[in-house]
C-alpha cells in the first residue's frame, strides 16, 4: 500500500504514540486486504463501548490511546452497558457503573462525542451519499452503506478508533465500486409491514445468504419502507447474514447503479415470513421483560409508544432503549412523562444487547429480530417477536 509522507511519519512515530499504533493497525489492514492507498473519512462510529465487552484490558488499551490520542473527524460511540443518568433505577451495580464511566471518560478525552447510540445516523453523525466512513456497529454499517449510500467496511472497535485518530481508512472492500454490486436477487412477493416483519425478512435473507456464501442482496418487491422499518431490517440482515450492504429497488439510492443479479434468484412469500416469525417465538415462554428500541428507538417510535401507553399501566419490566438526544426530544414533546407515568422506563445510552442483564429475566418480548438473536445467545432468555402494538399489549395486558 502506498503511504503519503505524512502517513509514513505517523507510522514512524512522529505524531505520537497513539497515531503510531493507529497507523500500524490501518497500514496492516491495508496490506492484508490489498488496499492501494488510504482514503479520508468524514465520520467514525466506534463499537466496543460496554464495559461488559471491554473488560479491564480493553479499558487499559483505551486509556493508553487517550494519553496522546485525539480524533481528527466527527466520532460517536456505540451503546454503553448502562443508562449514564438512570443506571441505579435500572438495576446496574455501582462497580460496573464506575468502570463504564472510566471507559466513556477515556473516549471523551480523545475528543469523541459520547452519544452512546447504535443509530448515529439519527442523531448528528449523518453522512451523505458517497462519503467514506469508518463505522463499527453492524446495523449502522448496513444502514450507512445501503440506505444512505455512504461507504464503509464493517470495522471493529480498535480499527474504528484508529481511523478516528488518523482521519483515514485503507481503501478496500465497500469503499470501491467493484465490491458494491448485488450478488443475489431476492424477490419479495408479500406486503412487508412493521419493524418486526422487516426484522423477520432480514432473518430470512440473512440466513439464505450464509447458506449461499454471499453477502450483498438485491431486493425487489418492497413498495414502501419507513426509516424505522429499514433500521430494523439492517440490524437483522447484518446479524443473521453478516450483510454490510443491500440494494432495494425503488428504495435505496444505488439500486439502479449496478446490474440486477440474474444468476442466483430467491423468492420470499407471506408463508415464508409467517414460518420464520415462528422461529423467533420460543415455546413455553414466560415473558417478564419487554424492550423496544433495537436499534435505538427514533422519536417517531417513542411518540407512537406514548400514544399506545397513554392512561395505561405496564405490569412487566418495560424498557425503551434510545439515544440520549432522542430522549431529550421526547422529554420536551411530553412523551417521556406519559411513558414514565405508565410505569415504563427509558434506558438511554444502552440497550438490551449490551447491558449486563443476563440472569435478571427469563423471557423477553421485542419487536426486533436482532434482539431475539442476542437475547437467546448472550443473555439466555427465551424470546418472542411481535409488533410494537403487541409488545405494549403484552406489557399492559
Amino acid at each position: 500500500m502506498k503511504l503519503t509522507s505524512e502517513e509514513q511519519d505517523m507510522l514512524d512515530g512522529k505524531y505520537g504514540k497513539s497515531a503510531k499504533k493507529s497507523m500500524e493497525i490501518l497500514a496492516t489492514l491495508g496490506e492484508i486486504f490489498d488496499a492501494e492507498c488510504m482514503v479520508d473519512v468524514v465520520g467514525v462510529q466506534i463499537a466496543g463501548v460496554s464495559y461488559a465487552n471491554l473488560g479491564e484490558a480493553g479499558l487499559e488499551f483505551l486509556s493508553e490511546m487517550a494519553e496522546d490520542g485525539k480524533v481528527r473527524v466527527l466520532t460517536t460511540l456505540n451503546p454503553a452497558g448502562m443508562d449514564r443518568e438512570n443506571w441505579q433505577a435500572l438495576g446496574i451495580d455501582k462497580e460496573f457503573a464506575k468502570n463504564q464511566n472510566r471507559a466513556i471518560d477515556a473516549f471523551a478525552k480523545m475528543g469523541i462525542i459520547t452519544t452512546c447510540s447504535c443509530t448515529p445516523y439519527l442523531i448528528g453523525n449523518t453522512p451523505h451519499f458517497g462519503q467514506h466512513l469508518a463505522w463499527a456497529e453492524s446495523s449502522a454499517v448496513c444502514y450507512a452503506n445501503s440506505v444512505i449510500g455512504a461507504r464503509t467496511n464493517r470495522e471493529g472497535g480498535p480499527s474504528a478508533l484508529a481511523s478516528a485518530i488518523i482521519g483515514k481508512t485503507p481503501k478496500y472492500g465497500y469503499h470501491l465500486d467493484e465490491n458494491r454490486h448485488g450478488e443475489v436477487l431476492v424477490k419479495v412477493n408479500a406486503q412487508v409491514k412493521g419493524t418486526d416483519e422487516f426484522g423477520v425478512l432480514g432473518k430470512i435473507i440473512g440466513d439464505k445468504l450464509v447458506e449461499l456464501g454471499k453477502k450483498t442482496p438485491y431486493i425487489t418487491g418492497i413498495s414502501r419502507a419507513t426509516v424505522e422499518e429499514l433500521k430494523s431490517f439492517c440490524a437483522s440482515v447484518a446479524t443473521y447474514g453478516g450483510t454490510a450492504l443491500f440494494h432495494m429497488e425503488g428504495i435505496t439510492p444505488e439500486y439502479n447503479k449496478y446490474p440486477k443479479p440474474s444468476d442466483i434468484i430467491f423468492e420470499i412469500n407471506q408463508d415464508n415470513l409467517d414460518k420464520t416469525r415462528l422461529e423467533l417465538i420460543d415455546d413455553d415462554i414466560n415473558i417478564d421483560f419487554v424492550s423496544i428500541g433495537c436499534p435505538h428507538a427514533s422519536i417517531h417510535e417513542i411518540g407512537k409508544i406514548a400514544n399506545l401507553l397513554k392512561g395505561k399501566k405496564v405490569k412487566k419490566e418495560f424498557w425503551i432503549t434510545t439515544a440520549r438526544p432522542t430522549k431529550r426530544i421526547a422529554d420536551e414533546a411530553g412523551y417521556s412523562k406519559i411513558i414514565e407515568d405508565a410505569g415504563a422506563k427509558f434506558a438511554a445510552d444502552t440497550c438490551c444487547v449490551v447491558a449486563p442483564i443476563k440472569g435478571r429475566f427469563k423471557g423477553i418480548m421485542v419487536d426486533s429480530a436482532k434482539a431475539c438473536y442476542y437475547g437467546r445467545s448472550k443473555n439466555k432468555f427465551k424470546v418472542k417477536i411481535g409488533s410494537i402494538e403487541e409488545c405494549i399489549e403484552e406489557a399492559t395486558g
Binding site: 493497525i25 484490558a57 480493553g58 470495522e155 480498535p158
Partner: protein, 129 residues
C-alpha cells in the same frame, strides 16, 4: 525447515507449537485469565495456549476478540506468537495492539504440536526446528 509467509506483526519468538485445524474465537472461546481454550467441542478445549506458538487456520467470532488478546498479553497468558493460514481483521488487530509476532499464508500442515518453532514476524518466516 523454513516456511515463508507474509508478515502481519513484527517481532521474533521461539516456543513450542500448539496446532489446531479448528478456527479460534478469542472472545468467548478462550479464557483470558487462564490462557485455556474453553470453546465446547474445540480440538484444543481445555488446553493452554499461553507462551506457545499458536498455529491455526483462521479466526472467527466477535470483533471484541482483539481486546481479549490484549487482555491475555497483560495477564501474561497470551501466545508467544501466532502462525495462521489466513489472517482476518480480528486476529490482525489483536496482534498489533497486543504486540504479538504474527505470520500468515503458511501451510500449517507442515507444523506439528510439540515442535519448537521460531516465528519471525518482521520477515514473515516460520522455522520448524
Amino acid at each position: 525447515m523454513k516456511l515463508s509467509g507474509r508478515k502481519i506483526f513484527k517481532g521474533i519468538a521461539e516456543a513450542e507449537a500448539i496446532v489446531t485445524k479448528d478456527g479460534i474465537s478469542f472472545y468467548g472461546g478462550v479464557d483470558p485469565d487462564t490462557g485455556k481454550v474453553v470453546e465446547v467441542g474445540h480440538e484444543l478445549e481445555g488446553k493452554s495456549i499461553s507462551g506457545k506458538v499458536l498455529v491455526f487456520p483462521s479466526g472467527k467470532g466477535s470483533t471484541v476478540g482483539s481486546y481479549t488478546m490484549y487482555r491475555m498479553k497483560k495477564n501474561n497468558t497470551a501466545p508467544a506468537a501466532i502462525v495462521i493460514k489466513q489472517i482476518d481483521t480480528i486476529i490482525a488487530v489483536g496482534c498489533i495492539i497486543s504486540e504479538i509476532p504474527c505470520v500468515d499464508r503458511i501451510d500449517i500442515n507442515n507444523i506439528n504440536t510439540g515442535q519448537i518453532v521460531v516465528v519471525n514476524g518482521s520477515e514473515g518466516t516460520v522455522e520448524v526446528k
